[in-house]
């Protein structure tokens, strides 16, 4: 049966999201194929290179270990600019609030958003607020749009990726996804899992200065697996990763085992996936690990010239290799 309606899976970041974008959204907006394949649009205004991006936040719960929807709304858009090679400058904030939402929570969220942006050196310059009837929204939704400048010479188009390049993550993966799931479902861990939600522009500036960065992404919705599949497709290369090298906190692994989830598909809100030139390995890893947000960085694999273009091959701890598949709909908790 083909779905004629928007399903939740269309918003999961997986296969259906991609189909929605490619089959419905791009054709309507006649998106040309020559775009930069980045998380932000790059354009020239006068003589300046400018990056522009937007993101909406509908997360539940709105307060979670390690952050809240306000912090997330600031970080998400700042990070999309940062991984596109931009210096984020300013944010706009659009708020859609459900009637009856406590004013105290409203304030708390805005203060958190502002503090996060300010700490990242980004100003909140304008905004808009709408209130909808009770039941027509779930507490509060936030849209942020961000603008930044891009230095000359920065080009992070995945088409630059070539065989031999290294695949790096900046730290343990899956923290945000597991923090949200455990909070949402009331699962208690001995040591609570904290979301990694953080603004990454400080880290990206540092690593860009080290040279050797070909491409960067923040693996949010759909996780590291989805990000790598996107990059492999866009670069038309094959990526080979080793499961043993992918850093995952033990509590996240335990939670995944319990719920039947895969940490590779869990969202991150403060991590980078980087594709780097092999001869710059030392410089990049030094730049990453000298920043608090890049301390747990690891090389997880390599780009190869194998014939399986656009695919990601994972070697598991038993040495068996398999292709990583796209997330098909939201990850479903299992029954037994």
């Amino acid at each position: 049966m083909t779905a004629e309606k928007i399903l939740l899976a269309h918003g999961s970041g997986g296969k259906l999201t991609q189909q929605l974008i490619e089959n419905i959204i791009y054709p309507i907006f006649k998106h040309n194929d020559g775009h930069d394949l980045l998380d932000a649009a790059l354009m020239c205004i006068g003589s300046s290179r400018v990056a522009l991006t937007t993101d909406s936040f509908v997360i539940s719960p709105i307060f979670f270990p390690g952050g809240d929807i306000g912090k997330l709304a600031a970080c998400g858009t700042i990070n999309d600019l940062a991984v596109s090679g931009a210096k984020p400058l300013a944010l706009t904030v659009g708020l859609i609030v459900e009637e009856g939402f406590p004013l105290q929570d409203f304030k708390k969220i805005l203060v958190s958003l502002k503090a996060t942006a300010e700490a990242a050196g980004v100003s909140v310059v304008t905004g808009d607020t709408k209130v909808v009837e009770k039941g027509n929204a779930d507490k509060i939704y936030i849209n942020t749009t961000g603008i930044g400048t891009v230095d000359d010479g920065i080009n992070l188009n995945p088409k630059n990726i070539t065989p031999g390049d290294l695949i790096v993550v900046s730290g343990p993966v899956g923290d945000h996804g597991m923090a949200i799931i455990s909070q949402r479902e009331g699962i208690a861990f001995q040591s609570p899992i904290i979301s990694d939600c953080a603004a990454l522009n400080g880290l990206t500036e540092g690593v860009l200065a080290s040279g050797g960065i070909l491409c960067m992404r923040d693996p949010t919705r759909g996780g590291v697996a989805t990000t790598l599949l996107e990059l492999a497709e866009q670069s038309q290369m094959m990526f080979e990763i080793k499961e043993d090298n992918i850093p995952v906190r033990p509590a996240v692994t335990a939670g995944c085992d319990m719920l039947g989830l895969d940490p590779l598909y869990l969202a991150n809100e403060g991590k980078l996936v980087l594709i780097i030139k092999p001869h710059k390995e030392r410089e990049v890893l030094t730049a990453l690990s000298s920043h608090p947000l890049g301390k747990g960085c690891e090389i997880i694999g390599q780009v190869t010239a194998e014939d399986k273009k656009g695919r990601v091959l994972l070697e598991n701890s038993l040495g068996v290799k398999r292709l990583v598949s796209k997330l098909e709909g939201p990850m479903l908790p299992r029954i037994c």
Partner: protein
């Protein structure tokens, strides 16, 4: 460091399997009954590491997969009621029947809430007294005690807006049916660790006593599964089929009598329909008459009349796949018309379904 040690252990286990393997390379077929095993075997790539003649066949141990299509229709009828909120484990959401799936019903406005535990459904009922919360009780002996406990709690708290639609099933009768079917050729079973934590080893004894086959109750890590294969091969070589426990760290031989008592308090054994296997005697858990106010089927007058086995006209081979007669690759729809995004049969939906596990993990290089 740990990974290196694990790897060495696994290498040793594989070497042992090669030593114990049939010298003439006769085909040896072990069935892993539980969906969690199917998923673990797929993910770890154990099938690829075994000698070619040792085959692991997936059995009927994914509760979503053995749910009859008529029951999915019943779920949809329940979901269509004005005041009803369906609370279900996520696996059930996308299982299709001719009228669609719960996921699609949700897209059309039905109230369907994914929960991780029946107790969560209970608290949903406590917080929303104006709504009827119906929990879809789908699962085996592992899940059923928790559902039973939530029902006891609901009764104790006088909660009137909570009920359970029970499709719980018990595993041993399904194994008996497989053993009686001569198309199912098996040399032994890798038995489910989780289910056995509740029922213990006794209910499996008939496998060895009446059918002369071995069974090893196993844990879910790759080394557990390999250990179970080693134990089954030894039994085969010694011609001494028996039921043994590999999963000693997780269970007692007697299982969990307290959990079984809770089950008995709430459920009685009854016949149940299994997709692919048909009506199996004494294989289901029906809610006791005394608790009928908590029985959604009674409360909402749901009667599934027509349990005639659907001969799917769409070509879906889930029924034979559940019995281990066919492999997913033998189904014409597998990976083409039937994918996890657009599943046609239930085995493609749950991550523990045989087809979903093969689809996700069989693209090896």
């Amino acid at each position: 460091m740990k990974a290196t040690m694990d790897k060495r252990h696994i290498q040793n286990q594989l070497a042992a399997i090669n030593r114990l393997n049939a010298k003439d390379e006769t085909i040896i077929r072990f069935m892993e009954v539980c969906g969690t095993h199917t998923h673990a075997i797929g993910k770890s790539g154990i099938r690829q590491l075994l000698p070619d003649n040792i085959q692991l066949i997936s059995g009927p141990g994914c509760p979503v997969c053995v749910t009859h299509e008529q029951e999915i229709e019943a779920f949809l009828s329940l979901a269509a009621r004005e005041n009803v909120v369906i609370a279900t484990f996520g696996d059930m959401l996308r299982v299709p029947c001719s009228r669609g799936s719960l996921d699609e019903a949700r897209g059309e406005g039905a109230r369907v809430k994914v929960v991780y535990s029946p107790l969560e459904a209970l608290s949903l009922a406590e917080r929303n007294k104006h709504l009827e919360i119906v929990f879809l009780g789908v699962g085996f002996e592992t899940t059923a005690p928790l559902v039973a406990a939530s029902m006891i709690k609901a009764q104790k708290n006088g909660l009137k807006n909570f009920s359970v639609y029970s499709l719980h099933k018990v595993i041993p009768p399904a194994l008996e049916v497989l053993l009686l079917d001569e198309r199912v050729q098996l040399n032994g079973f890798i038995l489910p660790g989780h289910v056995s934590t509740i029922i213990g080893e006794k209910p499996y004894q008939f496998i060895a006593e009446r059918f002369n086959k071995g069974g090893v109750i196993a844990g879910f890590a790759p080394h557990d599964i390999l250990e179970a294969i080693i134990m089954l091969l030894k039994q085969r070589n010694d011609v001494k089929p028996e039921i043994t426990i590999q999963y000693n760290r997780g269970m007692n031989a007697d299982g969990n009598p307290a959990a079984r008592q809770v089950l008995e308090q709430v459920f009685v054994i009854d016949d149940a329909w299994w997709r692919g296997l048909g009506m199996l005697k004494n294989s289901g858990l029906r809610i006791r008459e005394e608790l009928q106010e908590l029985d959604a089927a009674k409360k909402f007058g749901i009667v599934v009349k027509d349990y005639t086995e659907e001969v799917p006209d769409n070509g879906c081979a889930c029924g034979e796949i559940l019995k281990g007669i066919k492999l997913p690759g033998d189904c014409a729809l597998f990976g083409k018309k039937c994918t996890p995004s657009y599943p046609i049969g239930p085995c493609m939906v749950s991550s523990e379904g045989t087809c979903a596990a093969y689809y996700r993990y069989s693209q090896y290089c």
